[in-house]
Assembly symmetry: C2
Homo-oligomer: 339 residues x 2
DNA sequence: TTGAAAGCGGTACCAC
DNA sequence: GTGGTACCGCTTTCAA
């Protein structure tokens, strides 16, 4: 039982292939009555367009977009961020009948290799990029590739790519002022890898806010988003002569690990140590004490960035957009010092 | 700058399209010298096969396989299982130049709709299915669809689909005997949704093991894998007149939530309550006390199931396989009762 | 409005 | 061994 083609429909309706194509795509060139007849027959036959054929036809689209993710494989599985993002991207895409290709890669070079292959083999119509780096080679590389891209991140270093960006300065200041108001003087931020642009801008915001609040002992240290790195870093910090009284993490996972280390070292949260997470996945409300976190709507970011890419693909001029600022959600892991 | 086609190569080499195709695909029909010349030119031109064109040609493959996941969107983001599985599937696929399409769906019907669309539009060559249900409509539905599928799960109810299955009876017995040996009499298992086949077989194994150990007050209750459900269920259980002294969860997330609830209720783990998780993602080692868990190599399951699908797609007769049994990893969340 | 036909970029068959 | 060609299923142009 072969898949029906427009030729089958044409024969059944006694018209030509071209007429069927017009009817099916809702464009002028056939009379209303013919269109209806064709549509009925197509439906009866259970016809659906062959995607490869559509893509091959001049000007045709592949009907898929791609996403490559290149964080350490170990952290990937439990990093809530990505699946939430994928979820949002998906929601937007499936409304348009577009599919999502997902790849994990080792590093930026491998990621670029995937884009090059996708472009060369015509696997996807465009891509969504994440985790912009300082001097990221991708924006420039995408410039010469016939592969439209939008970026979640930026706008600095976006190299002209349309991007959906966030001003983390707002929530970062909120966090610092909140902690400072509760009497914390030694706040250390456990950040993501230094090479990420968003890490960088958060670091700058943190530094400024801390300085303005006169928190001279505050600083940022870097880890790689994994729970292991979060644990190790936290252990080291809490073992210092003058340990921090508050820790601000760049993702939920490291904050969770940090909470574990505090427990393991017999340091009580929040009376001896305050902890702030970032992203606010459901994990934060699952542990005790629950984690104070900066919340952002990752699913909606996914939706928006997908919709931007869609617009680019349909030839529209797309402007970069800013997301709503993240919001601080105070919970049990933060409080005044009681020592 | 148009993408180069085999016609361009043919012209440059002064041969026919057919010859180029043979040369490029490493099959007989061209002399060795011609082949080399063609390969060089193809390389110089930066040629790569057009995937749509390849797929369209008779007998052509799309070069992509699909995966649909239909767990509640909220749990998806933080459920480590899926990204790990995807990771494994990917590793295997990318070695073959095959891409992965990912979709999230509301329920089995929506999932089937995606398969039907993928088949009708020729979007993928085959699919990997997970979360087999009791009286699952999918195996039978896939039978009439021209879309090869392999199943992670089964083998009961697999309906003839090649599957990669696990005997959870082994680790389940290990868990029960371990807890019983430490003096636990009231063990409650907080399972996944009743409709899953793997839930069912674990329930049966749990029941038998408990019975054999004379643990008459042991039972299974169901939740939906989310942290919220894990919390709610745990809270209810621990508030009973004769609360359980050990809880065995069907995934890490619910176990984590359960640990949180115990803390919130002032119940000490493990002296008053033992907790066992299932899957053993990195989360288990991140919390305090660390979670005893049944460990299974989800990434490797992904690799294997992808390789089975690959074999099916290349026309081989594929037998179902069994995975290594999960292993109990005792950690801090389990111990003898000290009351 | 409708029908015929030319691509799109490969694969594979068939003469030579 | 090699070149020519039909075909895959759809879109779109061009005549009728």
């Amino acid at each position: 039982m072969r898949r029906p083609t427009i030729m089958d429909i044409a024969k059944a309706a006694g018209v030509s292939k071209g007429a069927v194509s017009y009817a099916l795509n809702g464009r002028p060139g056939v009379s209303e009555s013919t269109r209806e007849r064709i549509l009925t027959i197509a439906n009866d036959l259970g016809w659906a367009p062959s995607n490869p054929a559509r893509a091959l036809a001049p000007g045709g689209r592949v009907g898929a977009i791609g996403m490559v993710v290149d964080r350490p494989a170990r952290s990937l599985g439990i990093e809530p961020f990505f699946m939430q993002l994928v979820s949002g991207v998906e929601t937007e895409l499936s409304a348009q009948g577009v599919d999502l290709m997902l790849q994990v890669a080792e590093d930026v070079e491998a990621e670029l290799a995937v884009y090059r292959r996708w472009a060369a083999e015509r696997r996807v119509d465009g891509v969504v990029m994440v985790d912009l780096r300082v001097s990221d080679p991708r924006p420039e590389a995408m410039g010469v590739l016939p592969l439209p891209a939008v970026l979640l991140g930026g706008p600095e270093g976006a190299g002209g790519l349309p991007c959906l960006y966030t001003d983390d300065g707002v929530p970062m200041r909120e966090v610092v002022h909140y902690l400072a108001a509760m009497g914390h003087r030694r706040i250390v931020r456990v950040a993501g890898p230094e090479e990420f642009v968003h890490t960088h801008s958060r670091t700058e915001a943190f530094r400024q806010a801390a300085e303005r609040s006169g928190l001279l002992q505050s600083r940022t240290v870097h880890a790689d988003y994994t729970g292991e790195a979060g644990s190790r870093t936290t252990r080291r910090l809490l073992a210092e002569a003058e340990p921090p009284t508050a820790l601000v993490y760049d993702n939920d996972l490291m904050a969770l690990a940090g909470l574990g280390v505090a427990a393991e070292m017999g340091i009580e949260v929040p009376s001896q140590l305050s902890i702030v997470a970032w992203d606010d996945s459901a994990l934060c409300q699952m542990v005790r004490p629950s984690l104070t976190a900066v919340s952002r709507d990752v699913v909606s970011h996914g939706r928006r960035v997908a919709s931007m890419l869609n617009a680019v693909l349909s030839g529209q001029q797309v402007e970069s957009e800013e997301t709503l600022a993240g919001e601080l959600r105070p919970r049990g892991s933060t409080g005044p010092l009681t020592v």
